[in-house]
């Protein structure tokens, strides 16, 4: 399509300019392959990524993936290095299938900025958010913020069994499933007949079944034991259910959200350390010149995005063009560095801008 060439050039020029600004601020330029080994990405993100990324096969190297984002390669690059704090910037094409939105581009440019090793998380969060906010200021976008760390603290502090907390933690990023689990643990949904029948028998493992497959009889017996133990537990209280709903529905400006969450924390003290971090971040943001008093905060924001954010999350949206995906998104992903770092963990926060959308909205310069 010949008429696409000038458009793509404009996007590239915009991307280079944003990237150059990050370099001028001290970030190192990062480059990586377009064709990446699929295994690490699939193991991290599971089937969700397979639905969204282009997977292909190489006869020698096995399953390969067209780069769905830069995060994993940049984390791997940093963790293979000397370990000193560093910040990186990059730009390049990423590829995502758009089955639900065929009108959206499946190949587009991303400009990223990632910061590793910042010992003061609040300051690093504020600085990175400030960089994106400043870079995008000419577009007059609406910012959205959230904090997955508050949700994690909420689950960790729940007055219930370890198994239930683990189950809820696994599904923080799947809101519908999370809510269904809360209801089940609270005894608000009926036990499925099959489960009731299983629990009604005494046998550790019903006999006379042909054992096939890799999942052993010991694994089956151990899950049955866990189900029995859970059935013997009292249901989670209605008070806890209400508190969870209260936390998840917080959506107001940062100072009001903080105050509201502190009220909830009177009955949910497990939230306090995360709220102290939230408050420290608000202070750091104010020092960076960000208008925190007007900055929106949604406790549920970022839950349906990729599973790797585990702290501060943010996004920038065009109010004039609600049909567009977010112009920029980012957040803290310490947990990802833990997963990829084989025991090591490095504080990490960063984000990406879509220069094609920047151009569509009139450009930055």
């Amino acid at each position: 399509m010949a008429q696409d060439i000038p458009y793509k050039s404009r996007v590239r020029i915009e991307a280079e300019a944003i990237c150059d600004d990050f370099v001028a601020d001290g970030a190192a330029r990062f480059e990586t392959d377009i064709l990446l080994p699929a295994e690490v990405l699939l193991d991290l993100y599971g089937e969700d990524i397979r639905a969204r990324a282009y997977v292909t096969t190489d006869p020698e190297r096995g399953e390969m993936m067209l780069r769905p984002d830069f995060t994993v390669p940049v984390v791997q690059y940093h963790m293979d290095g000397d370990g000193f704090p560093a910040s990186y910037t990059y730009f390049g094409e990423v590829f995502r299938k758009q089955e639900d939105h065929p009108d959206r581009r499946s190949e587009y440019m991303q400009v990223g900025y990632e910061e590793f090793g910042g010992a003061n998380a609040a300051a690093a969060d504020a600085e990175v958010f400030g960089k994106f906010s400043d870079a995008l200021a000419p577009l007059g976008l609406r910012a959205a913020t959230g904090d997955i760390g508050i949700l994690i603290a909420m689950v960790e502090g729940l007055d219930t069994t370890e198994d239930r907390r683990t189950a809820l933690m696994r599904h923080i990023w799947r809101p519908a499933r999370f809510t269904a689990l809360v209801k089940r643990f609270a005894g608000l949904t009926p036990v499925p007949p099959s489960r009731a029948a299983l629990l009604a028998t005494d046998a550790a493992l019903p006999e006379a079944e042909v054992m096939i497959g890799l999942r052993s009889d010991r694994e089956i017996a151990s899950r049955i034991a866990a189900l029995r133990a859970d059935a013997a537990e009292p249901p989670m209280s209605a008070e806890i259910v209400d508190l969870i709903a209260a936390v998840l529905s917080v959506s107001e400006t940062c100072p009001n959200a903080l105050e509201h969450l502190r009220d909830i924390a009177v009955d949910m003290p497990g939230l306090l350390p995360a709220l102290d971090r939230f408050e420290a971040r608000c202070d750091a943001m104010a020092k960076c010149g960000i208008d925190v008093d007007a900055l929106p905060f949604e406790a549920s924001y970022g839950r349906t995005s990729m599973e790797y954010y585990d702290g501060f999350v943010f996004g920038f949206y065009s109010e004039a063009r609600p049909d567009l995906p977010p112009v920029a998104t980012g957040g803290r992903y310490d947990a990802l560095t833990r997963r990829l770092g084989q025991g090591r963990e490095i504080p990490a926060v960063g984000g990406v801008i879509r220069p094609d959308l920047v151009v569509e909205l009139g450009g930055l310069r």
Binding site: P102, R195, P206, M211, I212, R215, E219, I220
Partner: protein, 230 residues
């Protein structure tokens, strides 16, 4: 131009399709030798018979190379993104019934619901270090179904045939496949989850929303649809 009708090229699906059209006064028949994929349409004018693999009919409809086609709605929904914008189901034909279901070993006495499957998948990954494998050829439909069901920590592995054998052969822990009676599943020591199926499918007559038509074609198509009473 003529109206092109795509019909499965072999087996019971072809015979039943021929019978269904025949009962409505439209005679479909193969011509030439037993092995030649060519056919004719009697009883209406201006309609060509195109014999195709049932699996290719969705693509041909979506590309507009055939105007009408008979195939299962499982194949339509698996193979076409936003299928309802590309084809219109005119009528189910009352045969070729099959359900796309998720099936696990009978010995998994602790797994009957998607909630159980998710719980088992979490424990499986922790124990074995990789995601529970579910063998299927219906990747999109099954992935969508499991996502809506809140199942995590699984992976789909491709299986284009003999899927019921994959569990015994240790290449998958569970399967998602089409079944009519469940006989093959039982014979392979598998059971169907106690949940609504991923999809209930049967042979269906589809109309392409994109195939080009002249005014004459339009009249022919209308006459054919009238004759079929759909």
């Amino acid at each position: 131009m003529t109206i092109k009708l795509g019909v499965p090229s072999k087996g019971r699906l072809m015979e039943k399709t021929f019978d269904w059209f025949g009962a409505r006064g439209v005679t479909l028949s193969r011509t030439g030798s037993e092995r030649e994929y060519a056919g004719t349409v009697g009883g209406v004018d201006g309609v060509d018979l195109v014999l195709l693999s049932a699996g290719e009919i969705p693509r041909e409809l979506a590309a507009g190379r055939i105007h009408l086609g008979v195939t299962g709605n499982d194949l339509i929904q698996e193979k076409l993104v936003q299928w309802d914008q590309k084809v219109e189901p005119l009528t189910p034909l009352g045969f070729g019934h099959a359900n796309l279901i998720v099936s696990v070993p009978q010995c998994w006495v602790d797994v009957d619901t998607l909630d159980d499957l998710d719980g088992a998948a979490a424990a499986f990954r922790a124990r074995h270090g990789f995601r529970m494998r579910i063998a299927t050829k219906y990747h999109r439909l099954v992935r969508d179904y499991l996502r809506r069901g809140g199942v995590a920590d699984y992976q789909l592995v491709d299986s284009q045939g003999a899927t019921e054998g994959t569990v015994k052969n240790l290449t998958a822990e569970a399967i998602a496949d089409i079944t009519t009676t469940g006989e093959t599943l039982r014979a392979n020591h598998l059971k169907i989850l106690d949940e609504p199926p991923v999809l209930e499918s049967q042979a269906t007559l589809f109309r392409s929303r994109v195939a080009e038509k002249t005014d004459v074609d339009r009249d022919v198509l209308r006459a054919l649809i009238d004759r079929l009473g759909v």
